[in-house]
Symmetry: C2
Subunit: 244 residues, 2 copies
DNA sequence: ACGCCGCCTGTAAGTCCTTACAGCTGTAAT
DNA sequence: ATTACAGCTGTAAGGACTTACAGGCGGCGT
């Protein structure tokens, strides 16, 4: 037994980012990883720098990664966006044909990573309420056999989610944990708004007047502390109140 | 080593829900659990029955659970909505005072569950892109010591996410996996719309005419295959294109 | 009985969004 | 050179939303 559930409290008890980082670092070293990283809300297209990064990756690699815009290229990122399962890298048996321009760029990226000190590792996607998504990576300077990686993947996977639970409160723009209480009607109206219906159409669906729908949406908007229907929909979705 | 990463392919290879269910059942039994359940998009407030359920929970318990509206009461549900870490139950050392009406109802629920054949178990929250959320539960008829549960929690945690990756494609209303490509401007405009800005305000922020903002949002709406700005925001959020 | 709350409805003025028309610039690939 | 595409802008009409005013009904707990 390498890493267990008892680490939840250990990580939750950290009051500062620095304390959390050193705790994670010790855990990662104890199972043979030199580097680790926790990234949240990684922006794929836009560059408003809303992401949160924590961890012990080499600074030169992080800056190189972003200046080269590897976010758009990195297959690990693409995997984390779409899946919930860990990814072991590098994956040597890539089925893409070698003449592909994109895959050669990917190979170059992994080679550069190895030279800097990221030979092999595991990346675990983390998803959370509010459509936040991110990843936790563990990397080693030296090569680790795939079989050995597989052995500890379950523990790393759990650890990654503990890190996410403990670390996301430090991320900027974290939502207030207490979503306001909306009535059943308000939720219902918001749901149909998110589906693209107009007030009049929702009125028909719920057998009430158009004015009543407007009334409920108004109340919901106030409770959510936003202005405008679009913002209300956005806030309701990321608060988990509706799932369109 | 109980359950490893090799189960990803095993579960992904299942073509039908029945095949998937029997595979999961075999895995669960191999580590001592009599019942398991996979639930996705569980509705807390409204009852439009958009949820997806798969698994081997006793039918009588499931129907009892929903007729009693335990969804609003169940602390396991509340935990799963807000966290990414597993929950071992029942938790005997609940700090809530015994005079509380709510906590006594919770105790009653757990007692009823035990009588039906759900004595102890583990529930793992699963979150995914698109603000989908759900849970995977493993339960045993007989009591399992907390220490023994803790031993296999990492493996159950990973298995739960493999189940989620493999099972959500069967859920109704699953999103198309291929989100349309939006340009940087379109994403930028959608982001500010989700924040509650008007076209004119976004124009000021981006130093373009109001008309241009309308133009970009129009294009984005068409690409997303929806009608209306609210629906575009909703679809963009659940597709992971913006994170407000 | 009273207050509180969820739920429901109406009118009206002003603002915002949607969609149709039409047109311009610059970059990159074939 | 031609095509394609991202980005940008304008006008105008009609529909939709926002906010202000005002009011009624029923259930629940004290």
């Amino acid at each position: 037994m390498f890493l267990g559930i008892e680490n939840i409290e250990l990580l939750q008890a950290c009051d500062t980012q620095e304390q959390l980082a050193s705790t994670i670092g010790a855990l990662a070293r104890s199972v043979g990883f030199d580097h680790w990283m926790y990234g949240l809300d990684l922006p794929i297209i836009d560059d408003r720098k809303g992401q949160y990064l924590l961890g012990g990756y080499p600074k030169e690699w992080v800056s190189h990664y972003f200046t080269q815009e590897y976010l758009r290229l990195d297959p690990v990122i693409a995997h984390c966006q779409a899946h919930a399962t860990p990814l072991l890298w590098p994956q040597r048996d890539d089925p893409t044909k070698p003449g592909d321009r994109r895959s050669s760029a990917v190979s170059r990226m992994f080679n550069e990573a190895r030279e800097i000190g990221l030979d092999s590792g595991v990346t675990i996607p983390v998803h959370g309420l509010g459509c936040h998504w991110g990843l936790v990576s563990f990397a080693s300077k030296t090569h680790i056999a795939t079989r050995d990686l597989q052995q500890i993947v379950p523990h790393l996977h759990l650890l990654a989610h503990c890190i996410h639970d403990a670390g996301r409160r430090f991320a900027p723009g974290a939502l207030p944990v207490t979503a306001p209480h909306l009535t059943a009607r308000e939720v219902e109206c918001l749901h149909w708004v998110a589906a693209g219906k107009t007030s009049w159409e929702i009125g028909k669906l719920l057998n009430v007047a158009e004015r009543t729908v407007v009334f409920h949406l108004q109340n919901a908007t106030h409770k959510l502390g936003v202005s405008g229907r679009q913002a209300a929909v956005a806030r309701a979705i990321v608060s988990g109140l509706i799932t369109p």
